[in-house]
Structures are given as structure tokens and as C-alpha cells.
């Protein structure tokens, strides 16, 4: 993590108001000094990624804007994702207040500030600190906080419209279908609300989820959460393509922030889509994909490359070229068989195999210790953003039925969330749902 003494030096212990002013001025100067330009309304940050995939510690993204940050933002290195359930006693007013409180706190944290009026080390001496404190002295870390609404927020399992928003539920926001070989754990699936916190520093991401869940107590509680230690997708052409735990580059052909046409076509809900409160938002799919890496590691290189459809080293499609060369599925090899297998991952996931559908992937590698059989509990925490869940459903149904990779993966957790557009300064995420 690169130190940013400008931020470091001012964050702790100073009176809250002074701290905030000082931070704003100095952090701004820091950003300019680093040559980082922020396109505020989109949350797109130009030229932040270094070759190693890390962004500088002083990078910050605005919480407020047309779209929520953390979608087309260049994928940070770390993730803490959390799904919440509303408490059984929570009312519509509680939900609104929670979203307001979350938005206020999120905006502060994205600026590298502690939450609450007094922060982590000030305020009444006999009271617990408002901020939990572990992010003190740390830079902004490129933190983004992205909030979404699950189908059950609108209508719960018993059919109840707990918050008077059932009529606002997007038609697309229903439970995902059962995909072949799904092995979902109820403890890792669903949720009324979700928060995706991404940062280049794991502690900053964890600090965000920790404080937001603390703020939620009494109104909502954690249902499940997931840490991701390494990004597996690039969402900007300035980023190097990272590798997943199969050892292959992942997300080479992802939608990139620098492709505004694709982003508006495939990621953002348009003004012609219903409902109106989702315009500028997106749909988030989360899938906890367990990889049986022990079995994978016993597989011949030729088989691994056949399954993926790319070379392991360069990441070039087997039809030839370099990493970013478009795969050519028509190229035939020996015995007139396609060089890129018909059931390879790259082919089945390609827009050509899915009626042109594309999604923006933003997944992370995870290793959560090991299971009772002594296998690493490892895999990919898949996150994708799309204009309609149908984009994901079509692609995933195709993959789940045919993908050669299925022998080595298992989907064990799942969530679908409507991510509303960004909030205006002074408002809160999801305000449109209640107007």
C-alpha cells in the first residue's frame, strides 16, 4: 500500500470539523498531485491502475453521482461483500432511515473519513466511539460502497409487502432459476439488501462493512458475507488482466469503462426500461463459485487449455493471436475439429453464443480456509452487473448445461439485487423508490 502522507497526517485525533475541512482540501490536492482525474458523474477514474493492478493509496471515488461507484470503477484489489436481512420488526420508515444513514456513512468513508459526528477517537469519553477505528491512518484506498435491493425486500417469502414497495418491484427482480448442478447453501444465498465494498486495502473494505452493519443493528442484520482477496476482472483498459485460481487470466473480454456504448447498452438500466426509479441503476448477480482446485491441478495442461479455450501463459484464444485477439471459433485444427472446443468456457460465454448478451464482471478470488475433507475452500466470488438479469440467466444457463469447466466448479451461493442509480448529494441511495 502506498502511503499518502497528506491524508495520513490529518486523519486521526483532530477535532472533527477541522479534520473534515483539512481532509477535503488536502485530499483534493493529493489527487491532483498524483495526476488522477475523476469524472464525477460516472465514477470513472482515468489512469489510476499501475501495472501490478494496485491503485495508489490516495485514490478516491465519489459516493454521490449519476451512477453508484463500484460498478464501472476500475476493479479494486479487495472485496468485502455483505447481504443483509431486514429485521422482522422494521418498518418502512426504518428502511428509509437505514438507507439514509448508510448513504451518509458511506460518503464519509469513501472520502477516507471515519463515520459519525465524532469519528473513532473523539466525542464523549464515556461513550463507545462512533467509528470502529481500524481504518484510521489508512488512505482512502479507492473505497467504493455499492448498495442493492434483493427481491425479498419488496415481497418476502410469505408474500408480505413489509415496506409498501411491492408495486415498485422490477419485473426482472425475481429469484434466479435453478441452473443445472446448482448446489446452493441457503446460508450463502439471497438477502433483502446487499453492500459491495471494494478497496485496494482489505482493512478499508472490512471497515466499511463492519461499520455499515453496526449502523444497521436493530433494523437489518448480516445474512452472509464474503471476503475476496484478489480481483479477477479488469473493468478498465488501464488494468492488467488478473488470474483466477485456475491460474488462467479471467475477464479478458470484459466490458470496460472506456467503452461507453457497451456500458450504456449492457450495464445501466435505461430510461426506456421499467421501473423509472431504476434508471441509471443496474442489476447485480453474485455467485459463490467453489472450485475443486485439487482435482483441477491434476489435469493435464492440454485439457486445462481445452476447457478454458485460451492458452494458460499468454491468455490468447486457442485460435491464435495474443490475449486481446478476438477468438475465431471457425478455425479448424486436426480432423476438422475447431481449435476452440465447442464446449469451452470462452466459447460458451462469448456474446456470439448468447445472442449478443454481455455482462460486466467484477469477481474476486476467495480462499476461506478448508473444508472437512482437507480441500481448500477456494473459488471465485463472481459478481456481474447487467442492465437486465436476463443477460446473466441466458449466459449461465448455457454454461451450466454445457461448459467443460463444470466438472471443476460448483455454485454454492447466489444473490440477485437491484442496484439503484447513484444518489445526489444530500439525498440517499434508493430515494427514488420511496418518492
Amino acid at each position: 500500500m502506498t502511503d499518502d502522507s497528506l491524508v495520513d497526517g490529518t486523519a486521526p485525533a483532530a477535532p472533527q470539523k477541522l479534520s473534515r475541512r483539512g481532509l477535503l482540501g488536502l485530499a483534493g490536492a493529493g489527487v491532483v498531485g498524483l495526476g488522477v482525474g475523476v469524472a464525477g458523474d460516472r465514477g470513472v477514474l482515468a489512469a489510476t491502475a499501475s501495472a501490478g493492478g494496485s491503485t495508489t493509496g490516495g485514490t478516491s471515488y465519489p459516493f454521490y453521482g449519476e451512477h453508484q461507484s463500484g460498478i464501472v470503477t476500475p476493479a479494486q484489489d479487495r472485496l468485502h461483500f455483505a447481504a443483509f436481512d431486514m429485521s422482522s420488526t422494521a418498518t418502512r420508515a426504518d428502511l428509509i432511515e437505514l438507507l439514509q444513514d448508510w448513504s451518509t456513512a458511506a460518503a464519509l468513508m469513501c472520502q477516507g473519513k471515519p463515520v459519525g459526528e465524532f469519528g473513532a477517537v473523539d466525542g464523549p469519553y464515556d461513550a463507545p466511539p462512533q467509528d470502529t477505528g481500524e481504518a484510521l491512518d489508512l488512505p482512502t484506498g479507492g473505497l467504493t460502497i455499492t448498495i442493492g435491493f434483493g427481491p425479498t425486500l419488496f415481497v418476502d417469502a410469505s408474500g408480505a409487502d413489509r415496506f409498501g414497495i411491492a408495486s415498485k418491484q422490477p419485473a426482472e427482480l425475481t429469484e434466479l432459476p435453478h441452473f443445472p448442478a446448482d448446489d446452493l447453501d441457503a446460508q450463502r444465498t439471497g438477502g433483502d439488501l446487499c453492500i459491495q465494498a471494494c478497496s485496494d486495502d482489505p482493512q478499508i473494505a472490512v471497515h466499511a462493512i463492519r461499520n455499515l452493519s453496526r449502523i444497521a443493528f436493530g433494523r437489518a442484520s448480516l445474512r452472509w458475507s464474503q471476503l475476496g482477496f484478489g480481483r479477477t476482472s479488469s473493468t478498465s483498459t488501464a488494468q492488467v488482466t488478473p488470474r483466477n485460481l485456475f491460474g488462467f487470466k479471467d475477464g479478458t473480454a470484459n466490458i470496460k469503462a472506456e467503452e461507453p456504448g457497451k456500458v450504456s447498452k449492457s450495464v445501466w438500466v435505461g430510461s426506456s426500461d421499467a421501473p423509472a426509479w431504476m434508471t441509471g441503476g443496474s442489476y447485480l448477480v453474485a455467485r459463490r463459485i467453489r472450485m475443486t482446485i485439487e482435482t483441477w491441478d491434476r489435469t493435464a495442461l492440454s485439457e486445462q487449455e481445452k476447457i478454458i479455450g485460451r492458452t494458460k501463459g499468454e491468455g490468447a484464444p486457442l485460435s491464435g493471436g495474443k490475449e486481446f485477439t478476438a477468438p475465431d471459433f471457425s478455425v479448424l485444427g486436426r480432423a476438422d475439429k475447431p481449435l476452440i472446443d465447442a464446449d469451452s468456457h470462452v466459447r460458451l460465454a462469448h456474446p456470439d453464443s448468447n445472442a449478443g448478451s454481455e455482462i460486466l464482471r467484477r469477481g474476486y478470488n476467495f480462499v476461506d480456509g478448508n473444508d472437512s475433507l482437507g480441500r481448500l475452500d477456494a473459488g471465485l466470488f463472481f459478481i456481474s452487473y447487467q442492465r437486465s438479469p436476463q443477460q446473466f440467466i441466458g449466459i449461465q444457463m448455457n454454461l451450466a448445461k454445457n461448459d467443460l469447466m463444470n466438472e471443476y466448479i460448483r455454485h454454492v451461493g447466489s444473490g440477485l439485487f437491484a442496484v439503484p442509480p447513484g444518489a445526489k448529494q444530500g439525498s440517499y441511495v434508493g430515494a427514488g423508490l420511496f418518492s
Binding site: 441452473f179 491434476r298 499468454e314 491464435g320 478455425v331 485444427g333 475433507l373 444457463m397
Partner: protein, 392 residues
């Protein structure tokens, strides 16, 4: 290196040198690569001579057509090593163990014709220890394994008939008692069924494998009916038993698919390649690792250890078929595999046998499952080298 293509030339290859993925004491990465640049009109090899032992050709396709690279014997015809399907811009390694002698190198952009840039290549130095004449062993292994497959599938047909007769007669007790033992004939040769595309899904899909609009048929459909789950284990839904008409529908399907399998392996031209045998052994152990050791295969009957035993027996047969060939190439590997096969067989025998029955999966303690999983890993890891050593 693509194993299936290697097989077609293995007989010729074995007499001179060999493709290898596993060479003790001489890791390919340690040896300096001989670079081969296959362009549209040239086949440029960085050297035309090398010392005997492990050679690594790093073939780069700088042309715009799919290319191949061959190392040919002194008659310029016999293929002793090759890489195929190298797309434009792609690099791929050919690792061979070379005896002293005269060879030719040639590239084949476009994969047609005699190739271009045919050039002499000399290997000097001492003779590398060689395998004996393999062709006979390879042929014998294939013949024996095909006979084994035919026998297992024939037994499966009669066993399935008996099982289905009881099921259709409503004699569920007999059907339950013969369920796991009948399936053993299938589990021993499952990779064979998988090689016929749609057959394995129709015969052996688990409920979770099925897409929403697809039909679920086969053994596990009937398993669920014979070992009906409590509502709590069935997504909260009360299981509804199949009607006699439904029973007969699924029974007919299973009978029909099993017969298709029988016909396929009894076709006059049915044969298996040597790597299909070794990959079968590897695949069967992976079946154990991914489905049986986790209790997912027989989620209603909990007869996973029966399948485990049958997979292990099938893997043992496949391994024994190629064992002698492998032994000449890597005696250490064979020694390890002999020991670990024995260990795992012994470990599993503590839980029963196909004749007397096994402990049900849901009666195993977590520690016992862990111990069995460790045993599977202990065998699977070295077993994964079987094919590359065999065709090497």
C-alpha cells in the same frame, strides 16, 4: 501435446523416442528450449543438433494459418513427436526423450501436404534407456480392456433387468437391495459411458444436474422413488411417489439407454486407445473425489461407498492393463501406485464389500470421511501422471 493424436503414432514412436510429460531427474523446464519458428514459408529451428535425453522444442507459429510441427525418424516418414493445432501467434512445447540418431524436423502450416522446411536434425551422445517393444503390449492392453468393458456392460444389462423387474412388480425391498450392486457394473466403466455423449446424463444424472426444462431420467430418478426423502430433505416439499405408469416409463427409459450402451460397446469396430484406458483410471478416481467422497452421488440411498468400491475396482483394472508399459518408463511411479492402490483398497475394505454391503455414507463420521478423502488424494495425485507417462 494432445494425447489422442499421440496414440495413433505411439507404436512407431516407442521404438525411437518418446513424448513425455514426466521424466525423472530431467525436468523439461531445466533443459534449454530449442526454438522453432513456423512461419508461412519457413520452419526455422534454432539448432540442428542436440544431445540425447530430454529435448524441449518451443514451437511458435508466426504464420497466419494453424500449424503443426513434426520430429520425424531417419526415414523421414515415421512420426516420433509432434505438436498439432497451434494457432497463429501461439507457442506450444513438444517435449521428447531422444535417442542418438538422425531425424528430420518439419512444419506443416495449414495442416496439409508434406510440410515445409524439412531439415535434418542430429541427436548425439549416449543411448537413453529405452522401453521394450510396446506395440504388442499396447494392443494387448486395448483388447483386454475392451473385453472387460463388454463384460461389465453385459452384466449391467442383465442386472438392470432383474432390478427393474422387482421395481415394476412393486417389490421395493428387492429393488432397494439390488440397487447399489447392480450399479457397480456401471460405475466400474463410467468413463466409457461418458464417452458416448448423451448416454451418461440419461442414465446417471443426479437431480441437481438437471436443467429446469430438461427431463430427469435414469438410476437416480428411480433411486429417489425407492429411497424417498423426508420433506425437509426435499426442499420442504413432500415427495410424491411415482405412479405405476410413471415407474414403467422410467424403467423403459433406463432399459433402453442401457441397451444403447450395450450396442455401442459391442459394435464390431468398437475399440479404445491406450490413453483412454489410463484416462479412465484417472477419471474414475476423480469421480470418487468429486461425487462419492462427498456423499452427493447417492444422496437418497447413501450407497456412495458401493460406487466408491466399483470406481476403485474399475480404476485398478484400467491401471493393471497399462501397468507393465508404464513400469518400463517410470518404475518409481508404478511402485507408488501399487502401494497406494493397495492402501486405499484396504482402507475401504474396513467399511465392507460389494458382497456383504458397506456402511451407508450418512453413518460415516466426519473423521472417517476425511480419512477416506486423504486416501483418495494420496492415490489420485500420482495417478494423474499415468497418461503422460504412458504415452511418453
Amino acid at each position: 501435446m494432445k494425447a489422442t493424436a499421440v496414440i495413433t503414432t505411439i507404436g512407431a514412436a516407442a521404438t525411437l523416442l518418446a513424448l513425455t510429460g514426466c521424466v525423472p531427474n530431467a525436468s523439461p523446464s531445466d533443459s534449454a528450449a530449442i526454438t522453432v519458428d513456423s512461419s508461412a514459408d519457413a520452419c526455422t529451428v534454432s539448432t540442428n543438433t542436440a544431445s540425447s535425453g530430454t529435448l524441449r522444442f518451443e514451437v511458435t507459429n508466426s504464420g497466419d494459418q494453424v500449424t503443426e510441427f513434426y520430429l520425424l525418424a531417419d526415414d523421414g516418414l515415421r512420426i516420433v513427436g509432434e505438436v498439432e493445432n497451434v494457432g497463429p501467434g501461439i507457442s506450444r512445447d513438444l517435449v521428447v526423450q531422444a535417442q542418438p540418431g538422425d531425424y528430420f524436423t518439419v512444419c506443416k502450416p495449414g495442416m496439409i501436404g508434406d510440410g515445409i522446411g524439412n531439415a535434418a536434425f542430429a541427436v548425439t551422445g549416449d543411448k537413453v534407456k529405452l522401453a521394450g517393444d510396446e506395440q504388442e503390449q499396447v494392443d494387448a492392453a486395448a483388447t483386454n480392456y475392451v473385453a472387460y468393458i463388454k463384460d461389465q456392460v453385459a452384466q449391467l444389462v442383465t442386472g438392470t433387468d432383474t432390478f427393474l423387474a422387482a421395481y415394476l412388480a412393486g417389490d421395493d425391498e428387492t429393488a432397494r437391495a439390488t440397487y447399489a450392486t447392480t450399479r457397480a457394473n456401471y460405475e466400474r466403466i463410467e468413463p466409457v459411458a461418458e464417452s458416448f455423449g448423451d448416454l451418461d446424463p440419461e442414465i446417471d444424472f443426479r437431480e441437481a444436474d438437471v436443467a429446469p426444462d430438461d427431463e430427469w431420467t435414469g438410476w437416480h430418478r428411480i433411486e429417489k422413488d425407492l429411497f424417498p426423502p423426508a420433506a425437509a430433505d426435499n426442499g420442504g416439499v413432500e415427495y410424491v411417489a411415482l405412479t405405476p405408469e410413471e415407474r414403467s416409463y422410467y424403467a423403459d427409459k433406463l432399459k433402453e439407454n442401457t441397451q444403447q450402451l450395450y450396442d455401442a460397446v459391442h459394435a464390431s469396430d468398437y475399440t479404445v486407445t491406450i490413453d483412454a484406458i489410463s484416462n479412465g483410471a484417472i477419471g474414475l478416481l476423480e469421480e470418487v473425489a468429486s461425487g462419492k467422497i462427498t456423499g452427493e452421488e447417492e444422496i437418497w440411498s447413501h450407497t456412495d461407498l458401493w460406487d466408491f468400491q466399483a470406481n476403485l475396482e474399475g480404476a485398478r483394472v484400467a491401471y493393471e492393463g497399462v501397468r507393465d508399459i508404464v513400469e518400463t518408463k517410470d518404475p518409481e511411479l508404478v511402485k507408488t501406485l501399487d502401494t497406494r492402490f493397495g492402501d486405499l483398497e484396504q482402507q475401504l475394505a474396513a467399511y465392507g464389500s460389494l458382497d456383504k454391503g458397506f456402511v451407508y455414507y450418512d453413518e460415516l463420521t466426519p473423521a472417517q470421511v476425511k480419512e477416506l478423502a486423504d486416501g483418495v488424494n494420496s492415490l489420485s495425485e500420482p495417478l494423474s501422471e499415468l497418461t503422460s507417462t504412458l504415452v511418453g
